[in-house]
């Protein structure tokens, strides 16, 4: 018994010593930096390009050194694997970070649900007038503005290989403009070889991202999947039927690879030469410049074809990110100070951002674009100029209704593409599902953008 007691007391003492040791060994090196200052916590996902991460770090550090408001900004990169879980957990705990870098699509609903601060309290209408009209459409939710834009990136843009066009007798300066041409080119560009010599005409967007990739076509379609009041689904249109048929034709004839190991976001299939055409976002040109510089001269870009080849029709949706302030924040005025410094302040900071990315993303601010169009940056980049002229002005905002609608629409498109049902039956089952979601997700009357 005595030995037992001795053993236990020795173990307890060891345990206490060890647990003290742990705290000391894992002291956060950043606590010293924020001593005596007001701490503002800023969360952003670590974007894939290391230049973006370095941009965040560099300018946050500069601000921390130079600002005379006694503010220390703690920049935390939260990996995407657990981004949503982390934000939701922090919100449930009432401790959401002061500043959140957010993607535009989710912001209207979340803002209206009370998670973001209305930035109109801190920005004047004058400051908002610096924002491009097509971006203002996206961030303005019945007058409220929850997010200040950092950048926008339209999708889809059609990338094509000029040499492959020439090899089958197509004019490399004449990319397809109508859907019929797109199908025709896809057929002609697919070769009959096998193994690693096989080339497909086009890479259809992989199923994993199709749900949001199709948002790029809603401007062309003329409507989103729900009507303005969000009580009736709009799905069985001539445009959608045409879209379904086009996917099926291309897939069933083998003009697109059946498997892509890459996501829609990655330009690899095109850059590796596996496909002759690939729809991807504007960021694709940045990936080519950084990862596949050798093929840059061969790359042509075009706006995505429309059903009848009309000009003046939207061919893309605007993806992108900006900054928001959480309502949980105890110091929103301080948070906004940093936001204004980083995004709405000196153009130099944002120009640094876009330059590091090879101009594959675009500014929401007219003043920044003014700088990018002059001096050493002017005419720098054929590709971004094309996108600025032809694609951005007509781009539409991403829809903000619940994900189930987009997801179901994409799944039905895939079903039609892969199987042999009739278009009528697929449309009918799609309608049933979407009407069910209107009921179960109670979307009627909840459109944040409805005037």
């Amino acid at each position: 018994m005595a030995i037992f007691n001795k053993l236990i007391s020795v173990m307890l003492v060891c345990a206490m010593i060890i647990s003290l040791h742990f705290d000391a060994c894992f002291r956060d090196p950043r606590t010293g930096l924020s001593a005596g200052k007001e701490k503002v916590v800023f969360w952003t996902p670590p974007f894939v390009e290391v230049q973006t991460r370095e941009w965040f770090t560099k300018w946050t550090d500069k601000y921390n050194e130079e600002n005379d408001d006694g503010i220390y900004v703690e920049l935390n990169f939260i990996p995407e694997d657990a981004w949503a879980q982390s934000i939701n957990a922090a919100r449930a705990d009432g401790n959401a970070p002061d500043l959140v870098f957010a993607n535009y699509a989710a912001v209207p609903l979340e803002g209206n649900a009370g998670y973001y601060v209305d930035l109109n309290e801190y920005f004047s209408e004058d400051e908002w007038s610096d924002i491009h009209g097509y971006v203002e459409n996206m961030i303005n939710v019945k007058g409220t503005r929850y997010i200040y834009p950092a950048f926008v990136e339209p999708y889809s843009v059609l990338y094509y290989s000029k040499s492959k066009f020439a090899a089958v007798g197509l004019d490399p300066e004449k990319p397809p403009k109508t859907w019929d041409e797109l199908i025709d080119y896809a057929e002609r560009l697919t070769n009959n070889l096998s193994g690693s010599d096989k080339v497909y005409g086009i890479q259809l967007p992989p199923s994993g991202q199709l749900g949001w990739v199709l948002w790029g076509f809603q401007g062309m379609a003329g409507s989103e999947l729900l009507n303005e009041n969000w009580d009736t689904p709009i799905y069985d249109t001539a445009f959608n039927r045409g879209l379904f048929e086009m996917f099926r034709t291309i897939y069933k004839n083998g003009w697109s690879p059946k498997t892509s190991a890459y996501t829609y976001n990655e330009i690899n299939q095109f850059a590796n030469g596996r496909v002759a055409m690939q729809p991807c976002g504007s960021w694709g040109i940045g990936q080519i410049k950084n990862g596949f510089p050798g093929i840059l001269d061969d790359v042509g870009i075009a706006k995505f074809p429309t059903p009848d080849g009309d000009d003046g029709v939207s061919t893309a949706a605007l993806g992108g990110w900006g900054m928001t302030v959480s309502t949980d924040s105890k110091k929103p005025e301080l948070a906004v100070k940093f936001m204004k410094y980083l995004l709405a302040g000196s153009e130099e900071i944002m120009v640094d951002f876009f330059q590091g990315l090879g101009y594959s993303k675009f500014s929401g601010r007219k003043s920044v674009d003014a700088v990018l169009n002059t001096g050493e940056y002017a005419g720098n980049d054929v590709y971004s100029q094309y996108m600025l002229d032809e694609i951005l002005p007509l781009s539409v905002p991403e829809p903000c209704y619940p994900w189930s609608f987009s997801d179901t629409f994409a799944i039905k498109l895939q079903e039609y593409m892969l199987q042999s049902g009739t278009i009528d039956s697929v449309m009918a089952s799609l309608g049933t599902l979407m009407r069910a979601y209107v009921g179960s997700e109670e979307t009627a009357g909840k459109n944040p953008r409805k005037a």
């Binding site: 956060d28 991460r53 370095e54 694997d81």
Partner: protein
């Protein structure tokens, strides 16, 4: 065919099958380690490639010498530090898990008291709930206990693991009662019996479940991402997840990092596998 020939053939078949199995298990590991030496452009396609087109130690060295902190990895973080952090978290958690869960298993296997069925039900119910459902309330509890961003916030929530209790219980059920009866005749209390008889016999189940538990902590990243932003406390797979994003992945670092992360687990495996041996339960008496 003589019996001897049949035996020879069956031996050859055994060895062939064993060889195929071993090869299919080891080959990917070999691929993983050599891929760590590849240059980034080798990863631009999923075509299978065993050896790098160009050997480079930059990936491994970049990870070990912390050149990536501030760029790819968070500022002040370090792969070496995170190995230390993950090692301490996993080890402490493992020890706690082995003892607390096997003690509970012993109770359910051998002891009896009023309300035991209800308590077992209480434990069992938690086995089937998907982690996702309880992560956020658990976060709130950990936060209210002030354990966010701390060592104990990483170790304690993972210690109660009813599947391991179930597992030890099944092993303890087959311990011959004669061993216990002998001890009770000698005057040992229930608790003593646990420490003197069941615990020493737990070599095999402890190794099997222990490696799995250790691995669970070693490979975990979601809970660490949610609760830890202190760069000194970040876990290894949490750091590795910085190389992944929906827009693309830095494969060369991800693969090299995963290769490094697998090494301690394999070392543990090699060291402890010898405890999975024929038991000494020969009709009850040691």
């Amino acid at each position: 065919m003589t019996a001897a020939t049949r035996k020879k053939i069956s031996v050859i078949v055994f060895i062939a099958v064993a060889a195929i199995v071993v090869l299919s298990c080891i080959f990917p590991l070999f691929w993983l380690y050599t891929s760590g030496f590849k240059i980034p452009s080798d990863f631009l396609s999923y075509d299978f490639r065993l050896f790098p087109s160009q050997w480079t130690a930059d990936n491994y060295s970049g990870l070990i010498t912390d050149n990536l902190s501030g760029a790819y990895l968070p500022k002040y973080s370090s792969v070496v530090q995170s190995v230390y952090a993950t090692l301490t978290v996993a080890s402490v958690a493992l020890v706690l898990s082995l003892f607390t869960n096997s003690a509970a298993a012993y109770v359910f296997a051998r002891l009896n008291f009023k309300g035991k069925k209800i308590v077992w039900l209480y434990y069992a119910v938690t086995m089937f709930v998907p982690n996702m459902a309880v992560m956020i309330p658990c976060y709130q509890i950990v936060s209210s206990l002030g354990m966010l961003n701390t060592f104990w916030g990483l170790t304690l929530p993972g210690v109660p693991y009813v599947w391991s209790i179930f597992f030890y219980r099944q092993f303890y059920l087959s311990v011959p009662r004669s061993l216990e009866d002998a001890a009770r005749v000698d005057g040992c209390g229930r608790i003593r019996i646990y420490f003197r008889i069941f615990l020493p016999l737990s070599g095999t189940p402890f190794v099997i479940m222990g490696i799995s538990v250790f691995q669970g902590f070693w490979n975990s990243y979601i809970w660490p991402i949610m609760t830890v932003d202190n760069p000194m406390l970040m876990q290894l797979n949490q750091l590795i997840s910085y190389f992944k994003s929906s827009q693309g992945t830095q494969w060369h670092y991800l693969i090299a990092g995963s290769a490094l992360a697998s090494v301690p687990l394999i070392v543990l495996l090699v060291v402890f596998q010898k405890f999975i041996i024929q038991g000494v339960k020969i009709s009850g008496i040691k």
